[in-house]
């Protein structure tokens, strides 16, 4: 049973076609890694899944709900789908604790104490319980990104989307974020990860996809993808990145 299903999704920015018909499915608990050259439409695609971007043609069904213009559907889906951004996008005017509890309190209507308890659990899970009362500006990049993961998890999403979560980080901080994501994958979360961290893809992914110029050109198991790619485009991409 697939939790995300897209059929021939197309997306234009003005005259420019960023997605040229993407069809795919993600099963519950699956970890999917998407890679591809810059400008190939990876971000655009995963942003369509929680409707930060609107697709113009095709069909996207998330957890049985089809994405249309209906506001109610969109808000329902957004609270099922967590998202982690390349640039963290934490709320700088709120403490780490407030960042994490904001959505549970206001969107999920949970009590403050319950949300704070849950937030502490999440912070422990990503390894920074001691930073709860600090402001985002006082944390390192790696810590901020882990707060962002905790913030997304606080909504208890069924699916997590990651858009290049480590590419704004210094090398020594990448590992701590990847570790948090690995732990999340092992706990059975459904994840779509756009990344260039091939080590992560090999180790954690159930499937790897390659996007190029708005098309999905390869879809494979990690082993096959790296050792025995079907498509020439993949070989070229791998030779450039590895």
């Amino acid at each position: 049973m697939s939790i995300i299903k897209t059929v021939d999704v197309k997306k234009w920015f003005g005259d420019f076609q960023a997605l040229k018909g993407i069809s795919m499915e993600v099963a519950e608990g699956e970890v999917l890694v998407i890679c591809g050259p810059s400008g190939s439409g990876k971000s655009t695609f995963i942003r369509c899944i929680n409707r930060l971007e609107q697709h113009q043609e095709g069909e996207i069904v998330v957890d049985g709900i089809e994405l249309t213009n209906d506001l109610k559907n969109i808000e329902a889906i957004r609270s099922e789908v967590g998202m982690v951004f390349q640039s963290f996008n934490l709320f700088p005017h709120l403490t780490v604790m407030q960042n994490i509890t904001l959505a549970p309190i206001w969107v999920r209507k949970k009590s403050r104490s319950e949300s704070e308890e849950k937030a502490m659990e999440l912070l422990e899970r990503v390894g920074i319980p001691e930073q709860a009362q600090k402001f985002p500006g006082q944390l390192s990049g790696g810590q901020q990104q882990r707060v962002a993961i905790a913030r997304a998890l606080a909504m208890e999403p069924k699916i997590m989307l990651f858009d290049e979560p480590t590419s704004a980080l210094d090398p020594e901080m990448i590992k701590e974020v990847l570790d948090a994501m690995k732990e999340l994958a092992e706990s059975g979360m459904t994840m779509i990860v756009v990344t260039h961290e091939m080590g992560f893809a090999k180790e954690v992914a159930d499937r790897v996809m390659l996007f190029d110029e708005g098309l999905m050109v390869e879809e494979n198991t990690p082993n096959e993808f790296f050792d025995n790619p079907k498509n020439d485009r993949t070989k070229l991409f791998l030779s450039q990145i590895l």
Binding site: N50, L52, L71, K72, E75, R78, S79, V81, G82, M83, F85, S87, N89, L90, F91, P92, H93, L94, T95, L102, A103, W106, V107, K109, F135, P136, G137, R151, A152, M155
Partner: protein
């Protein structure tokens, strides 16, 4: 040579002097030059103030005029209630939000040392003589500070300075809470009202002025209310501290709400005549609130109803036509004004009332705005006001203050609404808001004031007569609101797109996104600008003199210098100007210092 002297290396004061004043020969020159200029102008100012030509009694004698003009004596209690409300709330907030910062005894003496040293220096530098122009045009030096008087003041202040200098190093572990120390200082100021004597004017039994003017104690009608208010403030300070210690969370919501409502109460106390009019409350206000409350409820309830979908546009158009009709019919003004609010609700509700919680919140906001609107309109029309239609019995500092506070108070939400409207995706709202902002900003404030005084009545529906003060208030709200709107819009634009996306991604609705994520950040970035514009509107309020209102500046420049009864103050302009500049300076200085602290506290969350 100076840099090699032992004193300038080992002593911290000496080092400061060397590093900041005499670091190079050019800076030494600048130091001497600036010092000479400062001393020269200081002596000039003192000479001016103590010149026997001056008549400071023209200020002290008219203090009440300066504060409230000719506000009826029997209604004075309302003024005291207003000040009291503010002080009590202040005490409560200081107690509740007390940061627990404390100062050591040595620290207190350090401050006292600085103050008394400055005073001693000022006395020592004061001039002995000043020039007075004689009747025949010649200039003659007149002694203003006799040597013995100077010694009499300088001696004790030097002794105090020395004493504080040594007490500074006192090693007592006890720490004093800064809030309590400040309250004590305030108490000392109030206490001094019992002792100090000020030069004033007395008339003897035949109505002749007693010369020379005596120094008299301050009237009991001044110090007794202040004492009561101070005690109330102290009491509420302790209540606040108690609530803080008991960790009463609800207070952190109640106090801001109380501050929000405070100006409304003050507004009604100051102006309404009589205070409550049960008759109109039952015949017009309650029915209006009920009817519009129910209509609003229905709008909110069905704003996202599927089956209405197709009929939405006809319904909106119908409402629009209906409200135009209501506006033309000879109805109570409250109905008409509320109708406009209803149109607004109709437009915004589909965006906000998407969830059950959103509906609930919108409904609460709706009911509250109904009450506020009704309340304001009731207090504002001319025939229900204590003051004359031209506002001429109310003025002075109270008017300046009212214009500044109420102008800011009303213009802030208005500005926020206009800014959000201007960035809205709904074209109608965007065009209306942009239009208001641009029109208001493209015309000078003075022109708008004339508009308020002569033209506004033409535009208001028949039968509505607003007091001049109210008209000016409405106008000021719009004027500063339009400026605020542009500042806020600047702040909104400085928020990166990622913040909107992050808010969306965690499932917030547009209302939550704006008010929990975007607006708090936008406001933070523009606090310095906002503070600046509040100060500007405080000073600009003196422009209302042009249309016949008596603000503090007009009293000082044209009322008092024209007085001839019971005492002749004709031509006493200079004293008033000095007093007024000092007065404005004190307020703006305190305000900007406070806001700097505020900025620092809020700045914590910045990157």
């Amino acid at each position: 040579m100076i840099s090699n002297n032992k004193f300038f290396i080992e002593n911290p004061y000496g080092r400061w002097v060397r590093d900041n004043l005499f670091s190079s020969s050019s800076s030494a020159f600048l130091t001497f030059f600036a010092g000479f200029m400062v001393i020269y102008s200081y002596r000039g100012i003192v000479g001016f103030i103590l010149n026997p030509e001056r008549m400071w009694t023209s200020v002290t004698y008219n203090m009440k005029l300066y504060m409230i003009l000719a506000y009826p004596d029997e209604a004075m209690i309302r003024v005291w209630l207003s000040v009291g409300l503010a002080l009590i709330l202040g005490g409560l907030s200081i107690g509740f939000y007390n940061s627990g910062k404390s100062i050591s005894l040595g620290g207190i003496f350090q401050k006292l040392f600085t103050i008394s040293a400055v005073i001693a220096l000022l006395i020592a530098l004061a001039p002995t003589n000043t020039n007075v122009i004689q009747n025949d045009g010649s200039i003659e030096a007149v002694e203003i500070i006799p040597q013995d008087v100077r010694m009499l003041i300088l001696g004790p202040s030097l002794v105090l300075t020395l004493a504080f200098f040594f007490l500074r190093n006192i090693k007592i572990k006890n720490l004093f809470n800064t809030a309590k120390v400040n309250l004590t200082y305030f108490g000392l100021i109030i206490g001094s009202l019992y002792f100090i004597k000020i030069p004033t004017i007395s008339l003897d039994s035949s109505g002749e002025r007693i010369i020379p003017d005596p120094f008299l104690p301050i009237a009991s009608t001044t110090y007794i209310p202040w004492t009561i208010l101070y005690v109330g403030m102290l009491l509420f300070f302790f209540i606040g501290s108690l609530l803080k210690n008991k960790d009463v969370k609800i207070m952190s919501r109640l106090i801001p709400i109380a501050w929000f409502l405070c100006p409304l109460f003050i507004f009604s106390w100051i102006f309404k005549k009589p205070l409550v009019e049960l008759n109109t409350v039952f015949s017009a206000d309650i029915p209006s609130i009920l009817v519009f409350g129910i209509i609003g409820f229905l709008i909110i309830r069905f704003s996202d109803n599927e089956s209405i979908g197709v009929y939405r546009t006809p319904i909106n158009i119908g409402f629009f036509i209906l409200s135009v009709v209501v506006f033309l019919l000879p109805l109570v003004f409250i109905f008409k004004a509320t109708m406009v609010l209803l149109l607004l609700l109709l437009v915004v509700s589909p965006a906000i009332a998407t969830t059950k919680e959103g509906k609930r919140q919108l409904f609460i906001v709706w009911v509250v705005s109904l009450f506020v609107l009704t309340f304001l309109i009731r207090g504002a029309s001319s025939d229900t006001m204590l003051v004359t239609p031209t506002g001429s019995i109310f003025g002075g500092f109270s008017l300046t203050w009212l214009l500044a506070i109420f102008g800011t108070y009303a213009s802030f939400p208005l500005g926020l609404a206009l800014a959000l409207g201007r960035t809205s995706t709904l074209p109608v709202i965007r065009i209306i808001c942009t239009g208001i902002i641009e029109i208001v900003r493209s015309v000078p404030y003075i022109t708008w004031l004339f508009f308020a005084s002569v033209m506004l009545t033409v535009f208001l529906p028949a039968g509505v007569e607003f007091n001049l003060i109210i008209r000016v208030l409405i106008l000021t709200a719009f004027f500063s609101g339009a400026y605020f709107a542009e500042y806020i819009r600047g702040g909104l634009q400085s928020i990166p797109k990622g913040q909107y996306e992050a808010a969306n991604a965690i499932g917030m609705n547009p209302f939550q996104r704006i008010f929990l994520v975007i607006v708090p950040q936008a406001l933070r970035t523009i606090i310095p600008t906002l503070v600046g514009s509040v100060i500007t509107s405080f000073k600009d309020s003196s422009l209302v003199a042009i249309i016949g209102l008596f603000d503090i500046l007009r009293i000082g420049t044209s009322v008092i210098p024209a007085q001839s009864q019971p005492v002749v103050f004709i031509g006493r302009n200079l004293e008033q100007l000095v007093f007024l500049s000092f007065f404005f300076w004190v307020f703006t200085f305190v305000f900007s210092r406070r806001s700097m602290k505020f900025e620092k506290r809020l700045g914590l969350g910045e990157r």
